[in-house]
Symmetry: C2
């Protein structure tokens, strides 16, 4: 894909991300995306043929960036504790800014479409966390925990707070309590 086309595509994803976090998935139309991007209908459709395609490209990008960051750090031989802290801080910041979270959009997307894509992304998130935890154990920085149990607790406690933060004010320290609990379970003092 040539550079200009790629730039436009990135711009569409960036602008759509704001739309989806504000309005969820159901309510966003291709017309809305034309408006926020200033693209003509033809211009937008030369990149994406539906809001579903835009949203799936967005999820794919978020997931890959996330995976890439952790892969890179592990390759660099960075400290597992530092990688964990960075990941948990990202999570905490997202929980503290529900208005920027895509949770509801992901939720509506999954209700509107088959769950194949969500299952695939969820598996990748599981693999990413498993890799980090196993790396920490190999490095002697993490306790020899049950990796699958830890991954489930990390993914779902986070998802739980993300979803609920959209419908009720979550105490600021809830996110901190959960990330502290995960750190205490993993990190060897």
């Amino acid at each position: 894909m040539n550079n200009k086309k790629e730039k436009t595509r990135e711009y569409i994803l960036e602008k759509s991300s704001q739309l989806f976090s504000e309005k969820g998935f159901k309510e966003v139309t291709m017309k809305d995306i034309c408006e926020v991007t200033g693209l003509s209908r033809g211009g937008l459709y030369s990149h994406f043929s539906s809001t579903r395609e835009v949203f799936e490209a967005l999820l794919e990008r978020i997931t890959s960036e996330d995976e890439f960051d952790i892969e890179e750090e592990i390759k660099k031989g960075s400290s597992a504790v530092e990688i964990l802290n960075a990941s948990l801080t990202r999570i905490r910041k997202e929980i503290e800014k529900p208005e920027e979270s895509l949770s509801i959009a992901i939720y509506e997307y999954a209700q509107a479409n088959d769950s194949k894509e969500i299952v695939r992304l969820n598996q990748r998130a599981e693999e990413k966390w498993s890799k980090l935890i196993r790396y920490g154990i190999e490095q002697g920085e993490f306790k020899k925990v049950n990796v699958n149990e830890m991954v489930s607790v990390i993914l779902y406690s986070y998802q739980g707070v993300r979803m609920w933060s959209k419908i009720m004010p979550i105490k600021k320290n809830t996110a901190i309590q959960i990330t502290n609990n995960i750190k205490n379970q993993l990190i060897i003092k």
Copy 2:
């Protein structure tokens, strides 16, 4: 409230509970509740004036029953481990039967109304779990964990799985992994 009126009220809540777990909150009308209960419009309205009232009565009942069970067991001086196992088993069974869960309805209800009621119920759930964990620590059955951290992890990992189990197939062992993690964090071997 006299016995017959009370019985009818219970019957309405029971039948409505099935409706709400199938259809969520938004889509359920008072007419639907008349149909499933076989009550006349007048009959139903003599008990509840809106689906919101029915749903709030339902949430109130579920929460009180739950609190009552734990209070009773603690009064009886039952083992904290047994109470914990019973509570976690209830949670696991609900996670394994998403079709009977009210999660989506609760979610839609909270989006449609102010979050006061949900915040109140959430606080009661927090108090219930805090009470059980403190009891277990006093009894010398539980480790001296950070109670608030444990409560947040229990409530939100459970909520996370509940919500996601509605939109994607959750591996059966996810619920078991989470409850195992909670048990291992709490119970002194």
